[in-house]
Subunit: 408 residues, 4 copies
């Protein structure tokens, strides 16, 4: 008899891993690579517990998907065994296209969105597994007739979000971010082929939205986290600048490849397999190992940034509700230039501004649909119980070295 594999997960207790193709996919080097990509990049510089990986997140999302399937079936929604496997594979692999440090370096190392690369990996795996992922790919691309299956993978209340909010609040220790994932799942239903939430789940969903916003500003966009991540972006930009202008930077072969080449979506059309192999060879370890090496690079900018990151001498980051005034920016550049005592072209790597935004709930996009007891279905924003006034909040930042000591 077939025995499932059981995993201990501090978040959910035990996770049952179905045998068969799902187990084989987890064993695949592409998926094992996710063990080496942290879920929330440099967040651990502020929240030291947040070292969890995309690997763990994907398994957690798979676990929630099993629960969602069970709940929907109990409510009479038909989900065939093939569909259950397909939607499970889709959620398992939804993030397989993430590169080192996930979102932080998303457009620095490669000019392609991670979901596009996830799709490419899934196609490649589909060939390896003789078409066994076809249904999963349809669901992932939202091309399968039963819409709700795609919505469980990617939508306002998908298993991705339910897991990452639960998991990130767990490992950061920001317990206020905790959501009622189990209650939300128990409140899911399907109406006209679309995912809906039963009326009495509305408070849980509202709480989920507020928790998500809290996690954005308190964790993901925490100003120290933002500073570290933006410094990492500037470091890689500097390295790419040097690499493309003839410097021979130490680094792993795949990292050197992506530093010297600019890869765009089109390149995958002509050269998919090679590019995927290079990309699959890349993870957080290549970056950190390179940073440790670059601390001793002859380029002052690169060495300074690498040392600052490795030794956690983070830049100061000012965060405000209005755009950074040009005068303030210029003033700071001058101050840093005096301290740095280097070349003018170095300064943009040391002083930089930017913005981040978060939308609590976007009523312009596909809304969460509420199923009322009388059978009616209406978007959540029309409910008298909906008391959030969602905004797209934008925050602006200015970031620069603390200048307490000599730069190098």
């Amino acid at each position: 008899m077939l025995r499932q594999k059981i995993l201990n997960d501090p978040v959910y207790g035990f996770i049952d891993i179905p045998s068969g193709i799902i187990f084989q996919l987890i064993e695949h080097p592409y998926f094992q690579r996710l063990r080496r990509i942290k879920q929330v990049s440099l967040t651990h510089y502020v929240y030291p517990g947040a070292l969890h990986t995309r690997f763990h997140h994907a398994l957690g999302a798979l676990h929630l998907m099993q629960q969602a399937i069970r709940t929907l079936r109990e409510k009479g929604v038909e989900i065939t065994p093939e569909e259950a496997e397909g939607v499970s594979i889709a959620i398992l692999l939804h993030d397989i296209g993430h590169g080192p440090f996930s979102h932080t370096l998303e457009h620095t190392l490669i000019q392609v969105h991670h979901e596009r690369i996830s799709a490419l990996f899934m196609e490649k795996l589909n060939e390896e597994f003789q078409g066994a992922l076809s249904l999963a790919i349809q669901i992932f691309r939202d091309e399968y007739p039963k819409k709700f299956l795609s919505q469980l993978v990617s939508g306002q209340l998908d298993m991705d979000r339910l897991d990452y909010l639960t998991r990130d609040s767990f490992f950061t220790g920001v317990y206020e971010g905790v959501i009622g994932y189990d209650r939300i799942i128990k409140m899911l239903s399907v109406h006209d082929g679309e995912l809906v939430v039963e009326e009495k789940g509305i408070y849980s969903v509202e709480k989920f939205l507020i928790s998500r916003r809290l996690m954005y500003w308190q964790v993901y966009l925490h100003k120290t986290v933002l500073s570290a991540e933006q410094m990492l972006v500037r470091t890689l930009q500097r390295a790419r600048h040097l690499a493309t202008t003839g410097w021979d930077l130490p680094g792993s072969p795949p990292l050197r490849f992506f530093l010297t080449n600019t890869v765009t979506e089109n390149d995958f059309d002509t050269n998919r397999d090679t590019l995927l192999e290079y990309f699959a060879a890349l993870d957080d370890f290549d970056i950190v190992a390179a940073l440790k090496n670059w601390m001793y690079a002859p380029d002052r900018v690169l060495a300074f940034l690498a040392q600052s990151l490795i030794n956690r001498r983070l830049f100061k980051l000012e965060l405000q509700n209005t755009p950074i005034a040009i005068a303030r920016m210029e003033e700071m550049k001058q101050q840093v230039a005096g301290w740095w005592n280097g070349q003018a072209e170095d300064i943009p790597y040391l002083v930089f501004a930017g913005q981040e935004s978060n939308n609590t709930y976007n009523t312009q996009k596909a809304e969460i649909q509420i199923l009322y007891k009388n059978g009616e279905v209406r978007p959540m924003s029309t409910s008298v119980d909906f008391e959030i006034q969602p905004r797209n909040t934008v925050k602006y930042y200015l970031c620069y070295p603390k200048m307490q000591d000599q730069p190098l």
Copy 2:
């Protein structure tokens, strides 16, 4: 050397009980009586874990008060040892005036608000303890110059609320109600003598407001809880009606006293000590023991209500956003009258309507004040980060027996 008493609390781990007068007050029969008054009345009919008492809540609020005092002192706020003891006593005794089933029977058994009775108990204890509670009473009555001390006892973010939301969500198992009490406390500060919250605590506070609203509609005003509690009110009203019209109902002496006498606030002016003794003799056990007895009462209405409550045959409760139409009410009364086959005057005990409301955040009242990094203090509702659109939500209900079986 003086060793504190340590209590195991499943919510906070360990609670340290200061020795001295606080320990003596906890040992006093008035306070021990709170062991016999459940915090959330009949909520356990829906959430079976919710059997915690006012006793436990008062100790929890005391525990949080110790944390708040420590935090404020670390920020340089002066709190003398006498003030620390005073504010601790005030929070410890803030609910000592609650009667059986707390809010449910608040105006059924006695025409006096529980806070007024708390004040009376505190005065009585002050006499017993030779004036040692004077400062606590000043704080409780908001007559002490340092406003923030009173606000820690009763205000938008007092230790009462922080404990009851934490505790009630813990014992109901509604984990979505969990608030970041420890983070909120760490964000408290004092400005111009008033309690304020540091800017970066704003998300935690917003989450606290949303959690509180969720707890109202999902727990405190859950329709089955509401039904049980309203049935209890009707049962006591019926008992009082019978008792005041000559019936000799079984019941404990203090219960019989409050059923046959109408006690108002003025009565305490002339007869404080006797009335307090009677009141202090009353708790949940008098009510439940009486209900068990009344199941066999010759009065059909009383017997039916008591049986329904004890055996948890709860009435159906329709909850809606608009007032109950008179026609609907009348129709239901007729239907029940036919089934009941009794006297017309019985019906109001069996069919009744009412309303409940909850205000997420009342900007008309004293607002939560936010302390910005630049030293400014402004009400929370003016913050760009405040995305709640608070409403006073009113819900209306109609409640009546299920009429599946013969009434008796």
Copy 3:
């Protein structure tokens, strides 16, 4: 479609209640009565959170039984739907024969063991439900051919123990008592019709035994708990003594019945239905309501004991590893007699000795069987990994009033 009922349980999150007869049994007044019987008697005098009831415990054990059934079926053990229902009913009702304050008053109010009364209730319900409980009764009585089903209800690793240890440590806040109930369940298997534990579960089982022992000495037999419970026993003995010698004590009708009559197992043979009705009318509330009344009884002993219990003026209890010396006992009796200044026959209610014992793991009884990877099955005590040296630990106590104030 049939929708299950879902309960929030702070211990397990959500509990699914199967519809059908199990749901009907839960709704039955016999079962609802368990809402009024605390699981751990007066333990809340030391651990204020420990107010949970036999009702909640029975539902928790039912929940674990569903998990055990699922696990065993996944391992290929055949359990028919009828058997699954039977074993679920058996665990649901295993404690239905408990009286007020569970074990504390077990042989004081009635001379019958609670399991015997559980069996009687099950027979009565079987008649009401036209034989639907027959299989459950067979399992409960260990008369069903598939032994392991009975072992899941009552055995070294039954769902009763797994739930009560988990639940009691949760509500007391003694987290060291936490056991790995989910892991132990996942390690269960069946061999030759008997329940066994897979080899790699041995550490969890050992930890379970040590946790159980810790709970005994730290919670169930905590000296303050023991004092309170023994005082309660003496109070009821005094009340019975008075009631049988002509006093007319206040109390509910069923309590008065059991105080004036001595009911033994044989009485149920001749008079089952009446006795069960009386017994079913009895719960914690009858006792506490009576205690509150007896505080004012003319009998000094009864009044003193009742006041001491209600106001938590608990007796001192000395706990030691050797029997109480007769001289020490006599010395204390004299001292108390002087302080009490009453009649000689009062003293045994005020000074008393006794003993409690706990056996960590009894190798004389049916042992836990370990299933090794090579297919062998051997008792746990023969494992090289078994490092406990189990003893039957006996502790002796002497209990008497603190004599700080005048007795009355």
Copy 4:
């Protein structure tokens, strides 16, 4: 006014970091390096949450030390501010000498015990901080007159163990390993200058011993973890073999240094500062980055081991209670040799045996001392409540490739 830094820790909630030298030490690159050394090596290959670092552990142990200091002071034990700082620094830095993958590579990369290197780092820091660590070093070396301070850093119940057991069980999700660290700390006391445990803490301590044993066999010495870690050792041994026989292996400069040089304790006497700098440059990232590179090494053995580790194709590990028979070992070597089809000298890197042991409680070493209520102090093993029969359990293993596919 001085504001402490507060850290979110999922394990303890909030951790307060004292300002002053402790904060400066945490900011030091030597300490920040611990962010890049996982606490439990490759355990995450079985328990995916176990990615926590020595950095986090050191902060957790510091947190517990603050609690222990507070508890002991409340009991009247004198601890001066200087001693409090000293013992805090000692626990903070106790593991600063750990190298990559902590214990796993402890004697593979360098022939020096990590505690010796910790001491060297502390001396170096003491020079940097002008002698501010002198008292800490005395305590760390057990040379300070107040013995109990050293015992809090290293002893049967030190803050190191209390934190790592708590933390490791938290992040693995093996909740059965949870210990009552807070209760144990509250039970600590000092008698004749030595650390003792109050009598009523004995059950908690016993539970701690059993939990620790469970963690050893279920986590630290889990056979899959053991396999991965032993493979890592063999990989580094192979790399060192190649490096010392003239191969130019890719790798970071410090890794290459330790692969080509054999560093012993004596070398630190003559060359401390340089060696410490090299060692401080080394962490988990050097190893993993090298493994990723070595997957493509021309040496078949190195490439095979590196690929197997990176892609988690772990060797099979047989674990048993008796030594591996020579015949069994030889048989397996032959089988592997046939499959491997390489050189005889390759085989010891592919087939290897070993043993691991764990002692639940060593009564030969300094025992835990119990303080009885009568003032007596006796070793725990003499207590009638001590039911553990401690053994030094040895398990033996044989480890070899699964041979399902072609080796390369």
